[in-house]
Amino acid sequence: MKSQTLTYREALRIAIEEAMNADERVVLLGEDVGNYGGCYAVSKGLSETFGSNRIIDTPLSESGFVGAGIGAAIGGMRPIVEIMTVNFSLLALDQIVNNAATIRHMSGNQVSIPLVIRMATGAGKQLAAQHSHSFENWYAHVPGIKVLAPATVADARYMLGMALKDPNPVMFFEHVMLYNESAAIPMPEDCPDMCSALVRQTGTDISLVTYGGSLPKALEAARQLAQQNVSVEVIDLRSLRPLDTGTLFRSVEKTHRLIVVDEGWRTGSLAGELCALVAENCFWSLDAPPIRVCSEEVPIPYPKHLEDAVTPQVAKIVEAVLGLLKQEIVS
């Protein structure tokens, strides 16, 4: 089998298709996943293949259909629930936190909820303040669920299948700016376990840690910095819960410096958690303060220049890296 080139969107679709072919219990449900083809066109064509009994268009009722997905998982199905974007997932948060994440433990380990909840996240499409946010950090806070953020086409292709095989509720975040990315797909055996972080580029001067839609920016920043003889190690978390702290700490112990790039608002961001973890666990290895490049703390505005000013950009990352290296020399 030759390696295929796919878009991130196509990779997701193939992953869904594959899972549905392999396991009758897998169904896809959400708003406009069927007749419309998915609001980001991920499920286009699937309802023709699998019929409206397995590709289920739901009414606008996020709490209702996410809860129904949880109930269907309890009843022996393997549902994939699509919420159009993380912004609307707030309407279903009670179901996710108080039911999906909680019932197994609270019932004394009796009830299994094998479920994948997929959703788009992030800014970049000028969709303004109610459609552009990133709440992955909130989900990463909740015990009882796993949280994935595939940042590459290969991960889109394979992590969804892994998520579906996992017996726990898994939240699956697809950054809106990734859907059109394309890349050649490796063999399945070359895709590591969904909960491990990956060193996307090795380096020695600084660890640049990120996930999801910020990975391409981090890699580009690393490329530009290489030209200035700064050797950046880029780590892609992939899983936001559990966090692969082993990979994170090993990298920081090698480079002695950490910058986290995270599209969430700074205060209370996942980036803060990573800085705290490193400060707590690698304190004696650090040669400089762990810092973060996050979004400005404003509701994300519509115009391009403001949206860009709010969210992390390559130039900001480069600047942060250079600033941190300089700070160390000064002190």
């Binding site: 709490s63 209702g64 129904a68 949880i70 998982a73 019932i103 433990h105 009796q110």
Partner: protein, 337 residues
């Protein structure tokens, strides 16, 4: 076609039921009543902690409904679910132990009064988010339908839950997807201290359900025979593939909302009036009036119930607490499914 049973009045005096069965119903209600009276005592002794919501006065609803179910049918209760659990056939030992927070409890003691689970009995909690279980029940019914299982899902909730968006979303999904589910509204007139008139612009809950196209009507929730009869007919209709139904059971809780309630929101008169219509009292009177329950028999039943409760307390008292080292057990599943 949906079976319309709203017209058939099931009068306790007219229905033809096996006397043995009626006595069984009586005993089931009594088990719940005496169990909860004891719980109230144990609460003041601080053996039971947290929130304790008593079902006293509403026993006919749980007992009546459960008669219509088969072992493979599933039940979702509320946080006022001791009655649901016992009527469903969970062992009283496990339920009591759960309230004591012991590891032999139905949820390893982790849930307490509000989170009694027993998957073997298809009993899915014990949910303390008002209306939070409705979407789950809809989903389980969806799973049953997709797997061509003929099982019924029953979901209990109070009339207060009807105001939540989840009620609306769930009924709509259930009807759109034509699901095998029976919604049971326990309309006891109050949501904590909020009277129905303050929480619903349309106070007939069954009419609200009809506005989604569900077969629905109201019954006297103090009459266990009427509840059973209505539930049986709805469950038959659901098993026939006729889609979701809602049964509104008009009932009353004789005690406060929880053990903390000072009940300023209602008059003693009103409570007394309802008590005089109590489901156990009513059935007992009927049995006695018809010479179906001798004084000796009554004593025997009471004794059996008392013995079961005492045994449950002994069991709970004697059971160990969960080890702190097991705290993380079941946050996640251990292996792949």
């Amino acid at each position: 076609m949906q079976t319309d049973i709203s017209k058939k009045h099931t009068d306790i005096n007219k229905i033809h039921m096996d006397i043995a069965h009626i006595k069984f119903l009586f005993k089931q209600m009594l088990r719940i009543r005496r169990f909860e009276e004891k719980c109230a005592e144990l609460y003041t002794q601080e053996k039971i902690r947290g929130f304790l919501h008593l079902y006293i006065g509403e026993e006919a609803v749980a007992v009546g409904i459960m008669q219509a179910l088969k072992p493979e049918d599933a039940v979702f209760g509320t946080y006022r679910e001791h009655g649901h659990a016992l009527a469903r056939g969970l062992s009283m030992d496990k339920v009591m132990s759960e309230m004591f927070g012991k590891v032999t409890g139905s949820s390893r003691g982790r849930g307490g009064s509000m989170h009694i689970f027993d998957v073997e009995k298809q009993f899915y909690g014990g949910n303390a988010i008002v209306a939070g279980a409705l979407p789950l029940a809809v989903g389980l019914a969806l799973a049953n339908k997709m797997q061509n299982k003929k099982n019924v899902v029953v979901c209990f909730f109070g009339e207060g839950a009807v105001a939540e968006g989840e009620f609306h979303e769930s009924l709509n999904l259930a009807k759109l997807w034509h699901l095998p589910i029976l919604f049971v509204c326990e309309n006891n007139g109050y949501a904590m201290g909020t009277a129905l008139a303050i929480s619903e612009s349309e106070q007939h809950i069954f009419r609200k359900a009809q506005s989604y196209g569900l077969a629905a009507h109201a019954v006297d929730g103090m009459n266990v025979v009427e509840v059973e009869s209505a539930a049986s007919q709805y469950c038959n209709s659901i098993r026939n593939g006729d889609g979701p139904c809602l049964l509104e059971c008009k009932t009353y809780r004789f005690r406060g909302h929880s053990m903390f309630d000072t009940q300023l929101y209602r008059k003693a008169d009103e409570v007394d009036e309802w008590k005089s219509k109590g489901p156990i009292k009513k059935l007992k009177r009927w049995l006695e009036a018809n010479d179906k329950l001798s004084a000796d028999e009554l004593i025997e039943i009471e004794d059996e119930v008392a013995a079961e409760i005492n045994q449950a307390i002994v069991f709970a008292e004697g059971s160990p607490l969960e080890e702190i080292s097991d705290l993380y057990l079941g946050v996640y599943a251990e292996e792949e499914s």
